[in-house]
C-alpha cells in the first residue's frame, strides 16, 4: 500500500525536486527522525539533516545563509515547549523565529519556506508527515530564487 502511495506521488511530481535543510536538535528532533527510520516511516528524499545540540544554537544568520546558498526550504526542529534538554533553548529559538520570518520575507523569500516545529523523540510519524507536507508545499512554491544563482540547471 505504501508503495502505491509512492507510485501515485511519482506520477504527479514535476521536474523540480526541492532541497530542504533541517537543523534538528540532538535530543528530540534528531531522535524523532531516527525513530522515523527505525519505524520505517517513508518520506520524500528531499531533506538533509544537520545535527545541532539545541535549537537555541540556531543563529538567525544560519537560516539566512542557508537560504542564500540556495536551499529551497529550512526546517528548524526542536523539543516541545517544556521538554528542552537545556531547559529553555527552544523558547529562546521561538522568540528569535519571529524576526527570522520577517528577515526572510524582507529579502524576498516566501516565509513559508522556513518552519519551526517541535518534534519529540517519540514522534517519528510526525517527522515523516512534516517532511512530506513541507516538500509538497515547497514544490508548489517552486525553486528558491537563490538556487538559480548557484545551480542554474
Amino acid at each position: 500500500m505504501v508503495k502505491d502511495v509512492f507510485e501515485e506521488e511519482k506520477k504527479t511530481e514535476k521536474e523540480f525536486e526541492p532541497l530542504i535543510v533541517a537543523y534538528c536538535c540532538n535530543w528530540c528532533s534528531y531522535a524523532g527522525a531516527d525513530l522515523a527510520g527505525t519505524s520505517r516511516f517513508e518520506y520524500p528524499t528531499n531533506i538533509r539533516i544537520i545535527r545541532i545540540m539545541c535549537t537555541g544554537r540556531v543563529d538567525p544568520t544560519f537560516v539566512l545563509e542557508t537560504l542564500r546558498m540556495g536551499a529551497d526550504g529550512v526546517l528548524i526542529a526542536g523539543c516541545h515547549p517544556g521538554d528542552c534538554h537545556y531547559q529553555k533553548g527552544n523558547f529562546i529559538m521561538e522568540k528569535r523565529f519571529d524576526y527570522i520570518k520577517k528577515a526572510v520575507n524582507s529579502i524576498g523569500i516566501e516565509p513559508e519556506r522556513v518552519r519551526l516545529e517541535w518534534i519529540s523523540a517519540s514522534e517519528g510519524g510526525k517527522f515523516a508527515t512534516l517532511v512530506r507536507e513541507m516538500t509538497n508545499k515547497i514544490r508548489q512554491l517552486g525553486p528558491s530564487p537563490f538556487r538559480l544563482i548557484h545551480n542554474p540547471k
Binding site: D34, G37, E42, T45, I49, G82
Partner: protein, 596 residues
C-alpha cells in the same frame, strides 16, 4: 591547526539495512573523488570487530587525521567509533558520523537511486564537518566523596545505604517528620501481602544508625550551586540553615497520591466514596464492617486522553448519543494522560484484602484496561479465584454515582463488551487514583536545572539508555520522582542511582563533555546578553569581558547564537562547522575551500 586534513571515510552496508537500498560501492567511489579524502572503503558491518580494526589500521597506514563513518545514528554508535579513534591515537573529537541508515536507507526503501544520491550528499556534508574539526580536551574535575540524597522514601533510603556501605558520607534529608515516604502509609504490599513495615522499618533503622549517614528530617533544600564533583547545598530545617559540600546529588523526593477534587465521581459528596489510600485506612481502622458490595473504579484522574471515535461504532445505536454526551462531559474533567501503572495492582491487592476479611462481600472492579504483568498475573488470578468480579467499562464515559433513599450508593457504568448500562448497588465506592508529581518539585527542578517532562515528572537523561541520570552531571534521580513505580522498582532505581553516583565518587575525578562555549575576548564587548540567557549561569562578565566557566556549560549554544558580536562559539559545533555542512550540500564545489 595548520595540518592539511587527511580524511578516512568508512561506509557501512549494515548487512542489507543500508546496502540493500543504497549503492554503497558507488558512494565509496564518489567519496574517493572528494577533496581532503585520503582513503575510503566500505564494509559489511563497520561496527564489527573487523570493521573497527580496519579503521585503526587505516589511520596508521594512511596517516589519517580525521575519520568519517557513514552508518547509523551517532546517538547510539558515536561513543564506540570515538573510542576506536582514540585507541589509534586520534583525538576523539576528530571523528564525524554520517547517518545514512535511520535518515536514509530505512526511510527510502522504494527509491534506491534517490537514496544513493542523498547518501552522497550526507557523506559530503560529514566530510565538510570533519575537515573543520579540531581536537578537544575534556575538562577534568575533582569529585568530593560525599553525597546528598533528597527524600527519605524507599528509593532515597536504599540509595543512601548503598553509598554509605561503600564508605561515602551521605546527607539524607526528608521534609516530613519520619522517613518512609509513601510506603510508610501503606499497610500491605502486593503481590506477597507482606506488611509494608517489613520493608520500611529495617531501612529506617539502618539509615538512622549508620555512621556514614546524617539523616535530617523536617529539612528541605534551600539553594544549590556548583557543579559535578563540587556542589554547595544550603539545607534549611528546624535548627536553621546548614551548608554542605557534596560531589553528587540524588533526587528521590517521590510523588503524591492524587486526591480528586470534590465532586469528581462524587468524591467528598458522599462519605462512602473514598480513594484506595483511604480504603486502607478503613480496612485497618476496623470501620469497614461487613458490606454487601464494594465497587472499585479504576483510572480516576488518569489516562484521560483523546477519544477514539472508532470505539463508538460498536455500540448499540440507541445508547450511542447518550454515551457521546457523557464522553464529552468526561473530557472536561480534570485528568492526566499517563498510566500510573501501580493502581491496577493496588486495587487488586485491596480487593483480595477485603475478600480475606469478609468473604461474603461482593467486590467489583470497574476497569478500562487492566495492567498486570510478570508474576502479578498470578495475583490477578488469585483475586479471580476469590470471586472478585472484573467488569470492563467504557472508559471515556465516567461512571455515574447516586445515592438511593436507603443510603446505598448506585454506580452506573457502560459495559464495554455489550455497550449496555450496568448498575451496581454498593456500600462503598473506591476510586483508584494515580500517582502525581509533587508541586514543590518545580522549584527543586529549577534549582537543580533538571528539565520536567510533559507529564510533570522529572525527566531522565534518556528514557531507555539512561533512566537514572539527569542531563545535569552528578545529579541522579531515583524512585517515583521520575514517574510511578512500585516498591521493588523504587529499590532498583535507588540502587542504580547510588551505583552511578558511586562511580563518580570512587574515581575521585570526572571528565565532562568538551562541547562548551568559548569566548573570543577581542570581540567581546561585555554586554552581558550571554549571562542573561544562559540557563546554567556559565558565562560571567568579569572586567568587561565574558568568561565561560566550562564546567557549568552544557554546550547548548544559545549564547553563541545570541551574541551580537559573534564573540562566542561552541566547541565541536562552531558556526563555521555547522555552516560548512550546509555549504557542502548546496554548493558541492565549495568543499575544496573548506578546512581548518
Amino acid at each position: 591547526m595548520s595540518e592539511e586534513p587527511r580524511i578516512g571515510v568508512f561506509i557501512c552496508h549494515c548487512g542489507v539495512n543500508i546496502g540493500g537500498v543504497v549503492n554503497v560501492p558507488e558512494v565509496t567511489e564518489y567519496a574517493k573523488t572528494l577533496p581532503h579524502v585520503t582513503y575510503a572503503e566500505h564494509s559489511l558491518y563497520t561496527c564489527s570487530e573487523a570493521g573497527l580494526t580496519a579503521i585503526k589500521k587505516a589511520i596508521k597506514e594512511y596517516n589519517l587525521n580525521r575519520v568519517v563513518v557513514a552508518s547509523c545514528t551517532p546517538r547510539t554508535h558515536e561513543p564506540l567509533f570515538r573510542a576506536t579513534c582514540k585507541e589509534a591515537g586520534l583525538n576523539a573529537y576528530l571523528f564525524e558520523m554520517a547517518n545514512i541508515r535511520e535518515h536514509c536507507s530505512w526511510v527510502h526503501p522504494h527509491e534506491p537511486e534517490k537514496a544513493t544520491e542523498k547518501t552522497k550528499d550526507i557523506v559530503r556534508m560529514a566530510i565538510a564537518k570533519a575537515a573543520m574539526l579540531e581536537p578537544q580536551t575534556e575538562p577534568e574535575v575533582e569529585v568530593k566523596d560525599a553525597s546528598l540524597v533528597i527524600g527519605a522514601g524507599v528509593a532515597g533510603m536504599t540509595a543512601a545505604l548503598s553509598m554509605a556501605n561503600q564508605g561515602f558520607k551521605v546527607y539524607l534529608i526528608e521534609k516530613e517528620k519520619e522517613p518512609g515516604g509513601i510506603a510508610r502509609r501503606l499497610h500491605k504490599l502486593y503481590p506477597t501481602l507482606a506488611d509494608s513495615s517489613e520493608v520500611v522499618d529495617p531501612l529506617t533503622n539502618a539509615v538512622k544508625s549508620h555512621k556514614n549517614i546524617e539523616l535530617m528530617t523536617l529539612t528541605t533544600l534551600k539553594d544549590v550551586s556548583g557543579y559535578v564533583g563540587n556542589f554547595n547545598a544550603v539545607l534549611t530545617g528546624s535548627s536553621g540553615d546548614k551548608e554542605i559540600n557534596v560531589g553528587t546529588i540524588i533526587v528521590a523526593c517521590g510523588a503524591v497520591n492524587y486526591r480528586p477534587p470534590q465532586g469528581l465521581c462524587q468524591y467528598k459528596v458522599y462519605d462512602r466514596v473514598i480513594t484506595q489510600e483511604e480504603l486502607e485506612g478503613v480496612l485497618y481502622g476496623g470501620t469497614l464492617g461487613k458490606p454487601e458490595r464494594i465497587v472499585m473504579i479504576q483510572c480516576v484522574g488518569a489516562r484521560k486522553g483523546e477519544i477514539r471515535p472508532s470505539e463508538l461504532e460498536a455500540f448499540p445505536k440507541s445508547d450511542s448519543a447518550e454515551l457521546l454526551r457523557k464522553i464529552l462531559k468526561a473530557r472536561k474533567e480534570e485528568g492526566w494522560p499517563y498510566c500510573s501503572k501501580i493502581c491496577c495492582m493496588n486495587a487488586i491487592k485491596n480487593a483480595v484484602l477485603v475478600k480475606e476479611r469478609s468473604p461474603k462481600t461482593d467486590v467489583v472492579v470497574l476497569f478500562g484496561d487492566l495492567r498486570v504483568y510478570k508474576e502479578y498475573e498470578d495475583f490477578y488470578r488469585k483475586a479471580r479465584d476469590l470471586e472478585v468480579r472484573f467488569v470492563r467499562r467504557i472508559e471515556e464515559a465516567a461512571p455515574e454515582i447516586t445515592q438511593t433513599p436507603e443510603g446505598k450508593l448506585q454506580v452506573m457504568a457502560y459495559d464495554a463488551l455489550s455497550g449496555l448500562e450496568v448498575k451496581f448497588l454498593s456500600d462503598w465506592v473506591v476510586l483508584s487514583t494515580p500517582l502525581r508529581p509533587r508541586k514543590g518539585e518545580v522549584m527543586l527542578a529549577r534549582m537543580l536545572k533538571i528539565p520536567i517532562g510533559t507529564d510533570g515528572f522529572l525527566m531522565e537523561a534518556h528514557l531507555k539508555l539512561r533512566p537514572v541520570d539527569t542531563n545535569v552531571d552528578g545529579v541522579f534521580i531515583a524512585g517515583t520522582v521520575s514517574g510511578p513505580k512500585d516498591v521493588p522498582e523504587s529499590i532498583i532505581s535507588g540502587e542504580a542511582a547510588a551505583a552511578k553516583a558511586s562511580i563518580l565518587m570512587g574515581n575521585r575525578k570526572v571528565r565532562t563533555e568538551a562541547i562548551t562555549a568559548v569566548v573570543d575576548e577581542d570581540l567581546c564587548i561585555g554586554c552581558g546578553l550571554c549571562e542573561e540567557i544562559c540557563p546554567y549561569g556559565a558565562p560571567k562578565i568579569e572586567n568587561g569581558k565574558s568568561k565561560v566557566r566550562e564546567i557549568l556549560c552544557r554546550g547548548c549554544g544559545s549564547c553563541a547564537a545570541e551574541c551580537p558580536r559573534r564573540a562566542i562559539t561552541t566547541r565541536h559545533f562552531g558556526d563555521q562547522q555547522i555552516l560548512a555542512q550546509a555549504k557542502a550540500l548546496l554548493i558541492p564545489e565549495s568543499l575544496k575551500e573548506v578546512g581548518v
